[in-house]
Amino acid sequence: MRNSFLIILIAAFAWFMYDIFSEYQTQEQLNKTAAYYNSNEPSEAGAANVVTAIVVTYRGLDTLGEVTVLFLATLIIGFILKNKAEKIIDSKYKTSEILETGAKVLVPGSLILGVYIFINGHLTPGGGFQGGAVIGSAIVLLLLADPNKIVSHKLMNFIESTSGFFYVVIGILGLIIAGGFLDNRIFPLGKLGSLISAGAIPLIYSFIGLKVGAEISGIVNNINETELTDKL
Protein backbone atom coordinates (compact mmCIF):
# COMPACT_ATOMS: atom_id res chain seq x y z
CA MET A 1 0.00 0.00 0.00
CA ARG A 2 2.61 2.43 1.15
CA ASN A 3 5.04 1.45 -1.59
CA SER A 4 2.55 1.85 -4.39
CA PHE A 5 1.61 5.27 -3.08
CA LEU A 6 5.29 6.18 -3.01
CA ILE A 7 5.80 5.03 -6.59
CA ILE A 8 2.79 7.07 -7.76
CA LEU A 9 4.18 10.13 -5.98
CA ILE A 10 7.64 9.74 -7.47
CA ALA A 11 6.17 9.16 -10.93
CA ALA A 12 4.05 12.31 -10.65
CA PHE A 13 7.06 14.32 -9.58
CA ALA A 14 9.12 12.86 -12.41
CA TRP A 15 6.40 13.70 -14.96
CA PHE A 16 6.25 17.25 -13.66
CA MET A 17 10.00 17.56 -13.89
CA TYR A 18 10.07 16.01 -17.37
CA ASP A 19 7.86 18.87 -18.51
CA ILE A 20 10.53 21.35 -17.44
CA PHE A 21 13.31 19.28 -18.94
CA SER A 22 11.72 18.74 -22.35
CA GLU A 23 10.96 22.42 -22.85
CA TYR A 24 14.39 23.58 -21.76
CA GLN A 25 16.57 25.20 -24.41
CA THR A 26 20.10 26.41 -23.88
CA GLN A 27 19.86 30.16 -24.09
CA GLU A 28 22.04 32.30 -26.32
CA GLN A 29 21.22 35.70 -24.84
CA LEU A 30 20.91 36.95 -21.29
CA ASN A 31 17.40 37.54 -20.02
CA LYS A 32 16.32 41.04 -18.99
CA THR A 33 17.24 40.91 -15.31
CA ALA A 34 20.65 39.40 -15.91
CA ALA A 35 21.35 41.84 -18.73
CA TYR A 36 20.55 44.75 -16.42
CA TYR A 37 22.77 43.41 -13.66
CA ASN A 38 25.65 42.56 -15.96
CA SER A 39 25.69 45.84 -17.85
CA ASN A 40 24.88 48.33 -15.07
CA GLU A 41 26.59 46.75 -12.09
CA PRO A 42 30.14 48.09 -12.72
CA SER A 43 28.93 51.69 -12.80
CA GLU A 44 26.31 51.39 -10.05
CA ALA A 45 27.94 49.21 -7.43
CA GLY A 46 31.53 49.10 -8.64
CA ALA A 47 32.39 45.54 -7.65
CA ALA A 48 34.40 43.37 -10.00
CA ASN A 49 32.49 40.27 -8.93
CA VAL A 50 28.89 40.71 -10.08
CA VAL A 51 27.60 37.89 -7.86
CA THR A 52 28.94 39.66 -4.78
CA ALA A 53 27.21 42.90 -5.77
CA ILE A 54 23.91 41.05 -6.19
CA VAL A 55 24.22 39.20 -2.90
CA VAL A 56 25.25 42.24 -0.87
CA THR A 57 23.57 45.20 -2.53
CA TYR A 58 20.79 44.39 -4.99
CA ARG A 59 19.47 41.47 -2.95
CA GLY A 60 20.79 42.73 0.37
CA LEU A 61 17.55 42.16 2.24
CA ASP A 62 17.58 38.48 1.20
CA THR A 63 21.04 38.14 2.66
CA LEU A 64 19.95 39.82 5.88
CA GLY A 65 17.08 37.36 6.12
CA GLU A 66 19.39 34.48 5.35
CA VAL A 67 21.83 35.48 8.08
CA THR A 68 18.86 35.78 10.43
CA VAL A 69 17.75 32.24 9.57
CA LEU A 70 21.22 30.92 10.34
CA PHE A 71 21.27 32.91 13.59
CA LEU A 72 17.91 31.42 14.59
CA ALA A 73 19.20 27.92 13.80
CA THR A 74 22.22 28.53 16.05
CA LEU A 75 19.99 29.94 18.77
CA ILE A 76 17.59 26.99 18.68
CA ILE A 77 20.45 24.48 18.70
CA GLY A 78 21.96 26.19 21.72
CA PHE A 79 18.55 26.22 23.39
CA ILE A 80 17.80 22.55 22.73
CA LEU A 81 21.20 21.38 23.94
CA LYS A 82 21.18 23.63 26.95
CA ASN A 83 21.55 21.01 29.71
CA LYS A 84 25.22 20.37 29.26
CA ALA A 85 26.82 17.87 31.54
CA GLU A 86 30.03 18.66 33.33
CA LYS A 87 32.93 18.68 30.92
CA ILE A 88 34.20 15.11 31.20
CA ILE A 89 37.83 14.62 30.40
CA ASP A 90 37.71 11.66 28.05
CA SER A 91 41.02 9.97 28.65
CA LYS A 92 40.25 7.09 26.29
CA TYR A 93 40.16 9.41 23.32
CA LYS A 94 43.75 10.33 22.70
CA THR A 95 44.91 12.06 19.55
CA SER A 96 48.36 11.65 18.14
CA GLU A 97 51.05 14.20 18.71
CA ILE A 98 51.34 14.78 14.96
CA LEU A 99 47.72 15.89 14.70
CA GLU A 100 48.02 18.23 17.68
CA THR A 101 51.16 19.89 16.35
CA GLY A 102 49.76 20.05 12.85
CA ALA A 103 46.57 21.66 14.10
CA LYS A 104 48.62 24.32 15.89
CA VAL A 105 50.23 25.20 12.58
CA LEU A 106 47.14 24.84 10.39
CA VAL A 107 44.43 26.57 12.43
CA PRO A 108 45.94 30.09 12.25
CA GLY A 109 46.66 29.54 8.56
CA SER A 110 43.06 28.52 7.90
CA LEU A 111 41.76 31.52 9.85
CA ILE A 112 43.94 33.84 7.77
CA LEU A 113 42.75 32.13 4.58
CA GLY A 114 39.14 32.67 5.62
CA VAL A 115 39.75 36.35 6.32
CA TYR A 116 41.54 36.70 2.96
CA ILE A 117 38.60 35.10 1.18
CA PHE A 118 36.01 37.47 2.58
CA ILE A 119 38.10 40.62 2.34
CA ASN A 120 38.69 39.91 -1.37
CA GLY A 121 35.08 38.90 -1.95
CA HIS A 122 34.35 41.80 -4.31
CA LEU A 123 37.35 41.07 -6.57
CA THR A 124 37.74 37.30 -6.75
CA PRO A 125 35.39 34.35 -6.32
CA GLY A 126 34.52 34.02 -2.68
CA GLY A 127 33.06 36.19 -0.01
CA GLY A 128 31.45 36.18 3.37
CA PHE A 129 29.76 32.80 3.23
CA GLN A 130 32.80 30.98 1.87
CA GLY A 131 35.18 32.72 4.27
CA GLY A 132 32.86 32.01 7.18
CA ALA A 133 32.74 28.35 6.19
CA VAL A 134 36.55 28.22 6.11
CA ILE A 135 36.71 29.79 9.57
CA GLY A 136 34.19 27.21 10.79
CA SER A 137 36.36 24.45 9.32
CA ALA A 138 39.35 25.82 11.23
CA ILE A 139 37.38 25.57 14.47
CA VAL A 140 36.36 22.02 13.52
CA LEU A 141 40.04 21.14 13.07
CA LEU A 142 40.80 22.65 16.48
CA LEU A 143 38.10 20.51 18.09
CA LEU A 144 39.19 17.39 16.20
CA ALA A 145 42.75 17.75 17.41
CA ASP A 146 41.63 18.08 21.02
CA PRO A 147 37.97 17.25 21.72
CA ASN A 148 38.31 18.37 25.34
CA LYS A 149 39.36 21.85 24.34
CA ILE A 150 37.02 24.58 25.53
CA VAL A 151 36.23 27.16 22.86
CA SER A 152 34.84 30.27 24.48
CA HIS A 153 31.11 30.73 23.90
CA LYS A 154 31.30 34.30 25.11
CA LEU A 155 33.81 35.31 22.44
CA MET A 156 31.70 33.74 19.68
CA ASN A 157 28.53 35.40 20.91
CA PHE A 158 30.38 38.71 21.09
CA ILE A 159 31.73 38.45 17.52
CA GLU A 160 28.37 37.23 16.23
CA SER A 161 26.26 39.96 17.81
CA THR A 162 28.72 42.78 17.15
CA SER A 163 29.06 42.00 13.47
CA GLY A 164 25.31 41.60 13.12
CA PHE A 165 24.80 44.96 14.81
CA PHE A 166 27.27 46.74 12.52
CA TYR A 167 25.73 45.04 9.48
CA VAL A 168 22.37 46.61 10.28
CA VAL A 169 24.00 49.94 11.21
CA ILE A 170 25.65 50.14 7.79
CA GLY A 171 22.32 49.31 6.20
CA ILE A 172 20.62 52.19 8.03
CA LEU A 173 23.52 54.53 7.14
CA GLY A 174 22.77 53.70 3.52
CA LEU A 175 19.17 54.71 4.15
CA ILE A 176 20.31 58.10 5.52
CA ILE A 177 23.25 59.02 3.27
CA ALA A 178 22.63 57.16 0.02
CA GLY A 179 19.63 55.83 -1.86
CA GLY A 180 18.19 53.12 0.35
CA PHE A 181 18.63 50.35 2.88
CA LEU A 182 21.99 48.55 2.46
CA ASP A 183 23.03 50.89 -0.37
CA ASN A 184 26.78 50.58 -0.80
CA ARG A 185 27.38 54.14 -1.98
CA ILE A 186 27.96 55.57 1.49
CA PHE A 187 31.67 55.47 0.63
CA PRO A 188 33.11 56.54 -2.74
CA LEU A 189 33.07 53.72 -5.27
CA GLY A 190 36.75 54.00 -6.12
CA LYS A 191 38.60 52.39 -8.99
CA LEU A 192 37.12 49.14 -10.30
CA GLY A 193 39.30 46.18 -9.38
CA SER A 194 41.31 47.69 -6.52
CA LEU A 195 41.05 46.39 -2.96
CA ILE A 196 39.44 49.51 -1.52
CA SER A 197 36.58 49.97 -3.94
CA ALA A 198 32.88 49.21 -4.38
CA GLY A 199 31.84 51.41 -1.47
CA ALA A 200 30.61 49.47 1.55
CA ILE A 201 30.59 46.01 -0.08
CA PRO A 202 33.91 44.76 1.39
CA LEU A 203 32.92 46.03 4.84
CA ILE A 204 29.46 44.43 4.74
CA TYR A 205 30.81 41.15 3.39
CA SER A 206 33.48 41.08 6.10
CA PHE A 207 30.80 41.45 8.75
CA ILE A 208 28.76 38.69 7.09
CA GLY A 209 31.87 36.50 7.04
CA LEU A 210 32.57 37.03 10.74
CA LYS A 211 28.92 36.39 11.56
CA VAL A 212 28.66 33.19 9.52
CA GLY A 213 31.99 31.94 10.87
CA ALA A 214 30.93 32.55 14.47
CA GLU A 215 27.56 30.90 13.86
CA ILE A 216 29.00 27.75 12.26
CA SER A 217 31.61 27.48 15.00
CA GLY A 218 28.86 27.94 17.58
CA ILE A 219 26.79 25.09 16.10
CA VAL A 220 29.75 22.72 16.00
CA ASN A 221 30.92 23.73 19.46
CA ASN A 222 27.49 23.27 20.99
CA ILE A 223 27.09 19.81 19.51
CA ASN A 224 30.60 18.81 20.52
CA GLU A 225 30.09 19.82 24.16
CA THR A 226 26.87 17.85 24.55
CA GLU A 227 27.11 14.57 26.35
CA LEU A 228 23.99 12.48 26.08
CA THR A 229 22.57 11.44 29.40
CA ASP A 230 19.49 9.45 30.28
CA LYS A 231 17.76 12.35 31.97
CA LEU A 232 16.13 14.89 29.75
Binding site: S96, I98, L99, G102, L106, G109
Partner: protein, 121 residues
Protein backbone atom coordinates in the same frame (compact mmCIF):
# COMPACT_ATOMS: atom_id res chain seq x y z
CA UNK B 1 57.18 28.65 -27.26
CA UNK B 2 58.93 30.06 -24.27
CA UNK B 3 61.65 28.04 -22.52
CA UNK B 4 59.92 28.59 -19.16
CA UNK B 5 56.72 27.12 -20.53
CA UNK B 6 58.53 24.00 -21.74
CA UNK B 7 60.11 23.51 -18.31
CA UNK B 8 56.75 24.07 -16.64
CA UNK B 9 54.93 21.65 -18.93
CA UNK B 10 57.51 18.94 -18.37
CA UNK B 11 57.19 19.44 -14.59
CA UNK B 12 53.42 19.00 -14.86
CA UNK B 13 54.00 15.86 -16.95
CA UNK B 14 56.37 14.44 -14.30
CA UNK B 15 53.79 15.16 -11.62
CA UNK B 16 51.03 13.38 -13.47
CA UNK B 17 53.33 10.41 -14.17
CA UNK B 18 54.03 10.14 -10.43
CA UNK B 19 50.30 10.12 -9.81
CA UNK B 20 49.85 7.40 -12.44
CA UNK B 21 52.48 5.22 -10.80
CA UNK B 22 50.77 5.78 -7.46
CA UNK B 23 47.44 4.66 -8.84
CA UNK B 24 49.05 1.48 -10.15
CA UNK B 25 50.63 0.93 -6.76
CA UNK B 26 47.25 1.41 -5.10
CA UNK B 27 46.10 -1.78 -6.84
CA UNK B 28 49.22 -3.78 -6.18
CA UNK B 29 49.70 -3.10 -2.47
CA UNK B 30 48.55 -5.86 -0.11
CA UNK B 31 46.86 -4.07 2.81
CA UNK B 32 45.26 -0.76 3.84
CA UNK B 33 48.37 0.70 5.46
CA UNK B 34 50.55 0.25 2.40
CA UNK B 35 47.82 1.67 0.20
CA UNK B 36 47.46 4.80 2.34
CA UNK B 37 51.22 5.23 2.32
CA UNK B 38 51.43 4.96 -1.47
CA UNK B 39 48.54 7.33 -2.01
CA UNK B 40 49.78 10.02 0.35
CA UNK B 41 53.44 10.00 -0.53
CA UNK B 42 52.93 10.00 -4.26
CA UNK B 43 50.04 12.46 -4.37
CA UNK B 44 51.92 14.97 -2.21
CA UNK B 45 54.96 14.70 -4.47
CA UNK B 46 52.88 14.99 -7.62
CA UNK B 47 51.06 18.09 -6.35
CA UNK B 48 54.42 19.67 -5.53
CA UNK B 49 55.67 18.92 -9.06
CA UNK B 50 52.50 20.21 -10.71
CA UNK B 51 52.54 23.41 -8.67
CA UNK B 52 56.21 24.07 -9.47
CA UNK B 53 55.34 23.57 -13.12
CA UNK B 54 52.48 26.05 -12.83
CA UNK B 55 54.84 28.56 -11.22
CA UNK B 56 57.08 28.28 -14.28
CA UNK B 57 54.15 28.71 -16.64
CA UNK B 58 52.52 31.63 -14.74
CA UNK B 59 55.22 33.36 -12.64
CA UNK B 60 52.90 36.18 -11.56
CA UNK B 61 50.75 33.72 -9.57
CA UNK B 62 53.74 32.54 -7.49
CA UNK B 63 52.16 33.35 -4.12
CA UNK B 64 48.94 31.45 -4.70
CA UNK B 65 50.56 28.31 -6.07
CA UNK B 66 53.15 28.34 -3.30
CA UNK B 67 50.39 28.61 -0.69
CA UNK B 68 48.53 25.66 -2.23
CA UNK B 69 51.75 23.65 -2.22
CA UNK B 70 52.40 24.48 1.43
CA UNK B 71 48.85 23.57 2.45
CA UNK B 72 48.95 20.22 0.66
CA UNK B 73 52.38 19.41 2.06
CA UNK B 74 51.12 20.12 5.57
CA UNK B 75 47.65 18.58 5.47
CA UNK B 76 48.15 15.45 3.38
CA UNK B 77 50.59 13.62 5.69
CA UNK B 78 48.65 14.63 8.81
CA UNK B 79 45.34 13.37 7.46
CA UNK B 80 46.81 10.07 6.30
CA UNK B 81 48.47 9.64 9.69
CA UNK B 82 45.12 10.10 11.40
CA UNK B 83 43.44 7.67 9.01
CA UNK B 84 46.10 5.06 9.63
CA UNK B 85 45.84 5.39 13.39
CA UNK B 86 42.07 5.08 13.20
CA UNK B 87 42.24 1.91 11.12
CA UNK B 88 44.90 0.48 13.44
CA UNK B 89 42.73 1.17 16.46
CA UNK B 90 39.77 -0.44 14.71
CA UNK B 91 41.84 -3.58 14.17
CA UNK B 92 42.35 -3.57 10.45
CA UNK B 93 44.53 -6.64 9.72
CA UNK B 94 48.10 -6.16 8.58
CA UNK B 95 49.52 -7.89 5.57
CA UNK B 96 51.07 -11.29 6.19
CA UNK B 97 54.47 -10.02 5.04
CA UNK B 98 54.61 -7.37 7.78
CA UNK B 99 57.69 -7.69 9.98
CA UNK B 100 57.25 -5.03 12.67
CA UNK B 101 54.32 -3.16 14.21
CA UNK B 102 55.73 -0.30 16.27
CA UNK B 103 52.43 1.31 17.21
CA UNK B 104 51.15 -1.90 18.78
CA UNK B 105 54.38 -2.35 20.75
CA UNK B 106 54.13 1.21 22.02
CA UNK B 107 50.56 0.75 23.11
CA UNK B 108 51.39 -2.50 24.90
CA UNK B 109 54.32 -0.83 26.66
CA UNK B 110 52.10 2.00 27.79
CA UNK B 111 49.51 -0.43 29.07
CA UNK B 112 52.23 -2.32 30.96
CA UNK B 113 53.53 0.88 32.55
CA UNK B 114 50.07 1.86 33.66
CA UNK B 115 49.47 -1.54 35.23
CA UNK B 116 52.82 -1.42 37.02
CA UNK B 117 52.08 1.98 38.49
CA UNK B 118 48.72 0.78 39.69
CA UNK B 119 50.32 -2.29 41.19
CA UNK B 120 52.99 -0.48 43.19
CA UNK B 121 50.70 2.06 44.69
Amino acid sequence: MDILQIIGASMVLIGSLVLLIASIGLHRMPDAYNRIQVGTKASTMSVVFVMIGFIFILPSWFGKFFTIMLFVMLTNPISSNVLMRASHKKGEPLSSKTVIDNLKEDEEKEELNKNNENGTF
